[in-house]
Amino acid sequence: MNLSSRMVIVLTSVGLISGSFLASVGLLTKERIALNRQQETEAAIVTVVPGTTNSQIVYEEEGFTVYEGKEDNGNLAGFAIYASGTGFQGKITLMYGTDSSMTKIKFLTIIEQRETPGLGSKITDVEAFLRYWENKDMSSSLTLHKPAASSPEELAPTEVNTITGATISSEKVLEIVNLSLERLRNLKKEGKLSSEEQDAS
């Protein structure tokens, strides 16, 4: 066998063997990875709309998704809004839940962030940041309370707290939420969020 044909044969067989190996690994892990992703979203929905056992997408566009959360007995538990935007150092994706009539934000959770560790990354911290988002009036834009308040009682219903030393990260989260709230209000006005319509279609 001459050299060049040997080269071709070796390369092709190495390629084929590793290709088939990879294909089987890909198939074996594909489902699991997709499942992981789905579980992550579901867990986030349950966190922000407690009591949800069953959720479905009612509206979706780039970087903005509205889920409808239903309880076991079929009652509407609330809506979960997935939104993303740019933070201090990278993308922030978050999710917050509303009550069924969309008047109040129930909870906020951060899904992904790349803020400064130990500072901006405190946006994932319940004690320092997230608990200040509970039960906020969502009929108008929210504002930031500066400097940081030490307990949620100090805040007005439309105010959320700043993280000491990470004003920008706090502002970015606020900005993402405010933008998505505006979209949400518009959608509601246009009647695109009523679940009956969804069911009928």
Binding site: L22, V25, G26, F88, Q89, K91, I168
Partner: protein, 191 residues
């Protein structure tokens, strides 16, 4: 405007060397002389830009439509390796002086994690085609800036009385650390 922000942030804020730690081997290895550091930087920028184009095309025209995303790593590394080969042959034909300047660095680039990192980070961030290309050019220039500054400092340090165990990589890493501190000033500048 967003593209400009992406470009500047790739050079200064999310610098490939000082923020992502990619391309450390050439950053330490080829930063002893300013001239060679500059050539290395140019070669990396060149290959990064081309890699950005091809990796995006392959990912979006072949891998994603056919559900072959598990071949990403293999195909990217093969694309990079063959691109470097092609670029090398091409430059040798077209411009011998350029080849003289960049030639010896091109083979080194194949195993340079900055190139592979570029392709992977672009995929991870879901960049569009234009964004990927801008990101590629910016990252390459960011690498060039870091390596040329480092080379300038190391030439200066040749005359300095650096403690024996720190000579070479040790002091270079500490300088890189202080450079990373200085580059922190740009944090938050890109909205």
């Amino acid at each position: 405007m967003e593209l400009l922000a992406l470009f500047i942030s790739a050079i200064l804020v999310n610098n490939f060397v000082l923020y992502y730690f990619l391309g450390i081997c050439p950053f330490l290895g080829v930063s002893k002389k300013i001239d060679s550091a500059f050539s290395m930087g140019l070669a990396v920028t060149f290959v990064m830009t081309i890699t950005a184009v091809f990796s995006w095309l392959i990912n979006h025209l072949i891998l994603i439509p056919y559900g072959l995303d598990y071949l990403q790593i293999v195909s990217f590394i093969l694309v990079i390796a063959s691109l470097v080969q092609l670029v090398e042959m091409f430059i040798r034909k077209i411009s011998p002086p350029l080849y003289q300047a960049l030639g010896i660095y091109l083979p080194l680039i194949t195993t340079n994690c900055a190139i592979m990192g570029l392709a992977l980070i672009a995929v991870l961030n879901n960049y569009s085609f234009v964004e990927t290309v801008i990101f590629g050019v910016g990252s390459g220039l960011g690498f060039t800036l870091a390596i040329v500054l480092m080379a300038g400092i190391r030439e200066e340090l040749d005359l300095a009385d650096v403690p024996e165990p720190l000579k070479g990589a040790g002091i270079a890493l500490i300088v890189a650390g202080i450079m990373a501190l200085a580059f922190n000033g740009f944090l938050g500048m890109i909205k």
